[in-house]
């Protein structure tokens, strides 16, 4: 128990805040608590997926600030792919593919060509904004409604059941992805090697790990998650593509990645906490319980984040070799 606390202080505190908060609302009204958590989770899903892109990248030693652009292009490819071909599945595949393609681009420029990783990310963001704005077409619609699945048994759990286990495919998959990735990163050989090339690539190289190849593969595959986040935005969370639909979620995700100390579970807790603060802000506005201008109420998530960061975090440390290109035989 003590070890859990030591290792996951942020996650424990955040989860405690969210759970206690939820039960307060539970007593005020069951429907209210459920709706607040639904809203928080809906807000958190794309942030979690995007934050995981950053986690995998930076754990491997590659800084990715192009997540925003990856998501935007993916949202675009997913929506218009589905609208033009008339198939939701093709849309999803195109979205995932677009995310991976841009991941591959970042990996190639950052790892192979050893360019400045920040610049490569900025290029992705600028290109994504330009391309999606230019090719945007009005009046397209999805060929159908995105499905909603219910997990038997789990969906009957009080409070959390309907929120987490009766949802669209991406939202359901996110839960699985967080757990699996956390396991992979800290309990498998792949995870150990990934962390090694992000901390001390020279040592990893000496141990016989192909640093370059591993970074290429990891950053490219992480693009799949960005693709999922994008497709979630344009197909599941809404059913339309809009210029700038990502609304800086890719950057917020980077903050959540840091907030979550580069760990999938903690990042998920951080995103959920942020979504919960958002839900409270909108609820205060809707209920008019306090007579404060909504512009001020809506700063609540950011103020809460600052407070939690100051209290709980403080000890997070980035992977040592992130942002540094690896050159065999140097260092």
């Amino acid at each position: 128990m003590e070890r859990l606390w030591e290792k996951n202080r942020v996650a424990v505190i955040l989860s405690a805040v969210v759970i206690v908060g939820m039960y307060v609302f539970w007593f005020m009204g069951k429907a209210r608590a459920e709706s607040m958590l639904t809203s928080a989770w809906g807000f958190a899903v794309p942030l979690i997926l995007a934050a995981l892109v950053g986690v995998v990248g930076e754990r491997s030693g590659v800084v990715n600030i192009g997540i925003e652009g990856q998501m935007l292009i993916s949202a675009f490819a997913a929506f218009f792919g589905a609208a033009l071909t008339g198939s939701l599945i093709i849309g999803v595949l195109l979205g995932l593919g677009a995310g991976m393609l841009l991941g591959g681009f970042l990996a190639w420029t950052a790892v192979k060509l050893r360019t400045d990783q920040i610049i490569a990310g900025v290029v992705i963001n600028i290109a994504a904004t330009g391309i999606t704005s230019f090719f945007y077409k009005q009046g397209q619609t999805l060929p159908g409604v995105f499905p909603r699945w219910e997990i038997p048994l789990l969906k009957d759990l009080p409070l959390v059941g309907k929120v987490f286990f009766a949802n669209g495919p991406f939202a359901l998959a996110t839960i699985l992805i967080v757990i699996v990735l956390n396991y992979l990163l800290f309990r498998t050989r792949w995870g150990l090697r990934t962390r090694a090339i992000g901390e001390y690539p020279q040592a990893a190289d000496t141990a016989g790990i192909d640093v370059i190849r591993m970074r290429l593969v990891n950053v490219t595959l992480a693009g799949l998650l960005a693709g999922a986040a994008g497709a979630f935005l344009s197909m599941e969370a809404s059913s339309t593509f809009e210029r700038g639909i990502t609304a800086d979620r890719g950057f917020l995700a980077l903050a959540i990645m840091i907030f979550g100390a580069w760990k999938p579970l903690q990042a998920a807790a951080a995103a959920l906490f942020f979504g919960f603060a958002q839900a409270i802000a909108s609820q205060l506005q809707a209920d008019k319980v306090v007579d404060i201008p909504q512009q001020l109420i809506n700063t609540l998530p950011y103020v809460l984040t600052l407070i939690v960061l100051a209290v709980a975090a403080g000890r997070v440390r980035a992977p040592a070799a992130e942002g540094v290109p690896f050159v065999k035989g140097q260092g």
Partner: protein
Amino acid sequence: MKAKRALALVPVLALALAGCGGSSGGGNAGGGGATDADCAKAEVLCVGLVTDTGKVDDKSFNQSAWEGVQAAVKELGGVSKYVETTDTKDYGNNIKQFTDKKYDAIVTVGFLMADATAAAAKGSPDVKFIGVDQAQPEKDAPANYTSLVFPEDQAGYAAGVLAAKLTKTGKLAQVLGLQIPPVEKFAKGFEAGAKSVKSDIQVTAVYHPAGTNAFTDPVWGGNEAKKALAQGADVVFGAGGKTGNGALAEVAKASGAGTSVFCIGVDTDQWNTVPEAQKCLVTSAMKNITLGVTDLVKQVKAGSIKGGYFNGTTGLADYHDLKGAVPADVQTAVADVVKGLADGSLKTGVTL
């Protein structure tokens, strides 16, 4: 070295692609008997229309305004043409295409074009400018610039009356864009209308957290709608551009959409603009743009047009497929409200 050079190309390429949005849209000929070479003659009425970014057949503002122009020109005779804007930077140039040919009246669509229109009006004092849904400059408004505006509170009021008569749970929700006067007028009108039916009805309103994307955030709109539905609201009013559309589309996904859960659109008949919401869309709180534009073009011909604001009318869009879900007595009651608001016998009582 070769690799580095290839790399330098990448940002250049990206910037070039990003810059592509600047290309200007071409002019398209509309209907009409005479050609626009005759526009310099006083007796030929020439009306040009510049769309906001988007197509003239967008089933929304652009199309409504263009239909208004065509209706007027069909009745009065003359020439009408439109230019489609592809980039906001081109507003001025597109207007210039008409002023250069000595058009009599130029209609510009959408509040984003207010500055460009006011500037063009100053440069061509002989041409009458009609701005659809635009705010006049705070000072030195040119006398040849007329803004067609709409009493949003009236549209919201009628929608509120309908919503209050449809709800079974007694809970209505509004998902709104940025908190600016036109949106607030819709929202307060909606609430006033609902309360005029049942004084104890619960009406919630959430505005988008102030930001640059307040009108283009369907994800946020959908999430708020989902939350409202989970709290028992059964009629959702989405007023805030694409943000509101996101809310409408989310309601359409809910179980009971169109039978026990409804959504109401805004500005134009959103049955056409947001087909994914058709399942729940009972009506839209509509600005009668076509009618207003036709009126103003006729005033140009008659020489009676005045600068400043011109108040158009509002109404509710057709019920379309959900006509069966609205009881006949409710339909009559709502129609009476719309009529009362239009002739001034009914006031919304909304002040900002």
